[in-house]
Amino acid sequence: MSDGDVVLETSRLKIGYPSKKGSDSVVAEDLSLSLRRGELVCLIGPNGAGKSTLIRSLAGLDDPLAGLIELNGRDASLMSPKERARLTSVVLTDSTPSGMFTAYSLVALGRHPHTRWTGRLREEDRERIEWALRVVGAEDLAARQVGELSDGERQKVMIARALAQEASILILDEPTAFVDLPRRVELMRILGDLAHRVGIAVLLSSHDLELSLRCADTLWIMNSVGEIEVGAPEDLALSGKIGSVFASDKIDWDSEQGGFRLRRETTRFARVVGDCEVSLWTRRALARMGYVIRSEGDVSLSVTFDDREGDVIWNVAFLEGERNFRTLDAMVTWIKRRLLKENPPKKSDR
């Protein structure tokens, strides 16, 4: 991409909280980041890394401690609030008023930097509001009271409000935080479309690493001391950067599965025969019990199954014999009981 597409660029940016006693508490420093038109960027990192501080600084809500933020090549600190509002719009985690507010009038607030002091909406304002509602798929919600909306619907309306502001940069702080998984995927699709089809630069912070890995064009991974790695999600996964930021003594990054798994001290091994949907979930059930699945070598359990048009029967072979089960739940319950018999809990555990 050419440099002409860069809409936001920081150089030597230092963020944090100023203190009157002279020693500012610095969250991150020496940040050189850039956002391009048509790009969906996800900012991820462990809790407390400073994602929200960075989001607020880039959105112009908190002043940076030092360094430069350039919007369309111009120093943002020299812009009037109104000028900045025409370039950057935000969706925050702040609670929204829900009483006596229709979704339409909430979205209409986004026209603020464009209307005159009376706030009267002109034809072009109404067109933009309706466009914003349509783009996020909320046109049916226009006449509804905001208080009656579900979390997912309200978040769509808040995104529409930001879009009505007609800015080229959209910055969102944890937009998927209170939303269930299907709605989360839908919101990410909407934001991706906004970047790719409408050509807005979208930056969002998220806790949801797996979804960010799937949707983002670029990841900003912030570690716990405020250093940021930038790259395509796949590159960062392959190079092990994601693992090094998020992994801990309890969790391992599994680069083959593209996800995390709990680390357990284990010497239990199991084998699952087959490579289909049933075997996938069988493996997950065994992994949950602390078994490591392997196809060669000694195993204490060997699971096969027989799929008769959806009626699955699992067969578990073990040292002393074998057993059949009609559900995974029955299998798991039996294995649990067996493990308990092998290793009765010590008194000190009680």
Binding site: R56, A59, G60, L61, S80, P81, K82, E83, R84, A85, R86, T88, S89, V90, L92, D94, S95, T96, P97, S98, G99, M100, F101, Y104, S105, L109, G110, H112, P113, T115, W117, T118, G119, A143, G147, Q165
Partner: protein, 347 residues
């Protein structure tokens, strides 16, 4: 957007009811004055008893107009406080403006009284003006402190600071009252009950322009107030200069409340009840509707409260503050029960 017509109708009905109550308020009092004679006194038409025309022109008319303006000012002020603090129970006095005023009055009535201020319940003109100045001065002093604080702290801290200032000043007033004689307390109490009836035309000529100016100053703020509904951070992201806007809004709200308190005493509940009634009536949070509606409803409720306080046909009168509370508290309760969760109005 679909309901502009309904707004116009509601405004027309409200304005008409207000006009009727205004006329009734001039006609009714300790003595009934027929409508025909009221019109005669106002426009100098027909043969009107000079005593009656004097009552209408010098007492009832300024009193009714004062109620109208004071109610409008308190309601608009309450609405602005609720929006800026995003708190449905914020009222014009939440920042301690009325405690400042009451300290001013307490100092005049309880401390300085021996040096010449008349102690009778019906204070002479100079004495009454002194009280107005003391109350307005006290309110202005608290306001000045708050506006300085407003530049340094966030809005929730400011709300708590205001409450603490209120408590602090309240206890100073209590101490003054504790060491005061009963007859001086009596005049302090009669101020603290609130009264629209002490207004003379010469005072009204000061009161009315200040209030009208304060109300007119709100009209350019509608858009900014709307943005404040989403909270200060969103307001900032939409291009509002938050700190100066906050100072402007709180300043004009406190000025309105302070002036009314100075002239009429601390009048509670109007500032909370009128905006809630309007939200409930107009089903909107937009200030271009709510501010004018609150002014109208505030004026209307103040007129009705004053009418009840005058207790037409009875010998005695009721304390105005008790009447506004009796009208205001049920309105707030109804709004609360209707919406079940009033807190969520502001998120």
């Amino acid at each position: 957007m679909f309901v502009e017509g309904r707004y116009v109708l509601s405004f027309a009905v409200l304005a008409f009811v207000t006009l009727i109550v205004l006329v009734a308020s001039v006609c009714l009092g300790s003595a009934l004055i027929p409508f025909r004679e009221v019109v005669g006194s106002l426009f100098g038409a027909g043969e009107i008893d000079p005593v009656i025309s004097g009552i209408v022109l010098d007492f009832r008319l300024p009193r009714a107009l004062t109620a109208l303006l004071a109610g409008a000012a308190l309601a608009a002020s309450g609405l602005m406080m609720q929006t800026v603090f995003r708190n449905p129970l914020a009222d014009p006095f939440v920042l301690g403006v009325n405690s400042g005023a009451s300290l001013g009055v307490a100092v005049v009535l309880l401390l300085l009284a021996p040096s010449g201020v008349a102690l009778t319940q019906n204070l002479q003109f100079s004495g009454h003006l002194l009280i107005v100045l003391a109350a307005t001065g006290g309110a202005a002093a608290v306001l000045a402190v708050l506006l300085v604080l407003a530049q340094r702290v966030d809005v929730m801290s400011l709300l708590i600071l205001g409450l603490m200032i209120s408590y602090g000043i309240g206890s100073l007033v209590s101490i003054l009252m504790f060491y005061s004689m009963a007859e001086r307390l009596q005049s302090f109490f009669s101020w603290s009950f609130g009264n629209f009836g002490n207004m003379t035309w010469s005072q009204f000529r000061v009161f009315a322009p200040v209030v009208l100016l304060g109300l007119a100053a709100l009209f350019p703020l509608f858009k900014i107030l709307d943005a404040f509904l989403l909270g200060e951070r969103y307001a900032k992201s939409m291009g509002v200069k938050v700190k100066s806007a906050r100072i402007l809004i709180l300043g004009s709200a406190s000025l309105l409340a302070g002036v009314v308190t100075g002239f009429c005493g601390p009048i509670g509940f109007l500032g909370i009840a009128a905006p809630h009634f309007c939200r409930f009536l107009f089903k909107t949070a937009e200030h271009r509707i709510l501010v004018p509606a609150s002014m109208l409803v505030g004026g209307l409720v103040a007129l009705m409260a004053d009418l009840i306080a005058k207790a037409p046909g009875l010998e005695s009168t009721l304390p105005l503050n008790a009447v506004t509370a009796l009208i205001g508290a049920p309105v707030i309760m109804a709004a609360l029960l209707r919406q079940r969760n009033l807190r969520k109005v502001f998120g």
